[in-house]
Amino acid sequence: MRDFIETSVGILIALILYTLFSHISVYLIQAINVFSLLVIYMSSTRNEIYGACVGAVCGLIQDSFSLGVFGVAGIAKTVMGYLTGFVSKRIDISPYTRRFILTFILITIELILWAFLYAFIYTKTLNTGKGVIFIQPLITALLGSTLFPQIRKAVQAISRFRR
């Protein structure tokens, strides 16, 4: 139940950030993938099954807001969530550099997988947003690796307060 509430709140926050970013600049949406950040955070604090499920849900939400093939972002995020859960169970990702490298690699994998599926199913070239999409792994990883410990502290503080 606690996991469900945390995930729902996470999705709501991701939606708020995505909406705010879309009102600030279109390039901000391409530079920062808030849904990927949510999937990585949730997966790294739990396990690979949970990561794959959260990845599927977040990917399908992203797909529903997007005009294209429904399920492409879903598959990419499912794989990313699974890999995050799998790796974070075996490697200690608490040091900043390690967390940054892992997030960067995972978002790059997701982006490559998504672009491959998109090009394969849709037979169209990708809109790179004047190249902004290529810096998405870097920006998102920087943001994620900086914010994750703070988010974890906030979640723990809320849990303590509730008890």
Binding site: Y18, I29, I49, A52
Partner: protein, 278 residues
């Protein structure tokens, strides 16, 4: 057997999730551009959340603007008064121009049909995967929104059309900059017909103009023809910014749409399919 499932539980879950999503993708093949029920359900479930977020932040913004920045109200009122005056003048000139083609009674009937069929809408979300493909608006089936209704920007330039899914108070709009969008258009000077589609990068491409055709020039305006039975004729679409003759049969003509993506905030939904002025 059960130990195999226990040992590979996580891989089986992953495979099942991927299979489910591949199944969803395969469902779309017979449907074409039409969305499936699952996609519609997710859209109907989450688009009101996004609508609520926008409304919440807008109301906070409105409150701050209304109470804290009240000293600007006088300047804004003056600006709006001038705008109304200028629009009234423009309206009068257009009515006079219309009188060349139709009599007073016909004009009254025509304009009587036009005004109630224009619905104001706001953009509440941008396509997260492909920026220049679609946007989400704050109008839905409860406002009478239907598929293929035409969307214009606040200056009357063509933006796109409503496509599915349509929720109760939200709908998705396909932009003319989408690669899958097709608009029947003609050029201003020599009335050369062509099909306009998006290039997916914020501009459009005028297609099917043969390389030998010399009647199309840079800087020309592009208008809708109405032949596609979706977009009414005579709507401003964009301007030709470059023409390149290639070794192919057709020229490569880039059109810059008049609507500006950065300022795509307020939109007009044309609810009647038959708003033909001329």
């Amino acid at each position: 057997m059960s130990s195999f499932f226990k040992k590979n539980k996580s891989l089986i879950v992953l495979a099942l999730l991927i299979f489910l999503q591949l199944f969803l993708i395969s469902l779309q093949i017979p449907l074409g551009a039409q969305e499936n029920y699952f996609e519609k359900a997710v859209f109907v479930l989450f688009s009101p959340v996004q609508h609520g977020i926008v409304s919440f932040f807008e109301s906070i913004g409105g409150f701050l603007k209304g109470y804290i920045s009240l000293h600007d109200a006088h300047v804004e009122n003056e600006k709006l008064r001038q705008e109304i005056f200028s629009l009234s003048q423009k309206n009068r000139i257009l009515r006079n121009a219309l009188e060349y083609y139709k009599n007073e009674e016909e004009i009254e009937t025509l304009l009587g049909e036009v005004y109630p069929n224009i619905l104001h809408a706001r953009v509440i979300g941008i396509d997260p995967s492909n920026t220049f493909k679609s946007v989400m608006i704050n109008r839905g089936s409860l406002d009478g929104i239907e598929k293929n209704m035409v969307i214009l920007d606040k200056f009357g330039n063509l933006v796109g059309r409503v496509i599915g899914p349509i929720a109760f108070k939200e709908a998705r709009v396909q932009l003319i900059t989408d690669t899958d969008c097709g608009v029947s258009v003609f050029t201003e000077k020599n009335k050369v017909l062509g099909i306009l589609s998006g290039d997916g990068k914020g501009s459009c491409v005028l297609e099917h103009i043969v390389s030998t055709d010399e009647n199309v020039t840079e800087g020309e305006n592009i208008y809708t023809t109405g032949f596609d039975s979706i977009f009414p004729p005579g709507i401003n679409v964009g301007r030709i910014i470059s023409i390149t003759s290639t070794s192919d049969l057709f020229k490569k003509i880039i059109v810059n749409p008049y609507f500006e993506f950065r300022y795509l905030d307020q939109l007009a939904v044309i609810r009647s399919q038959a708003l033909v002025l001329f």
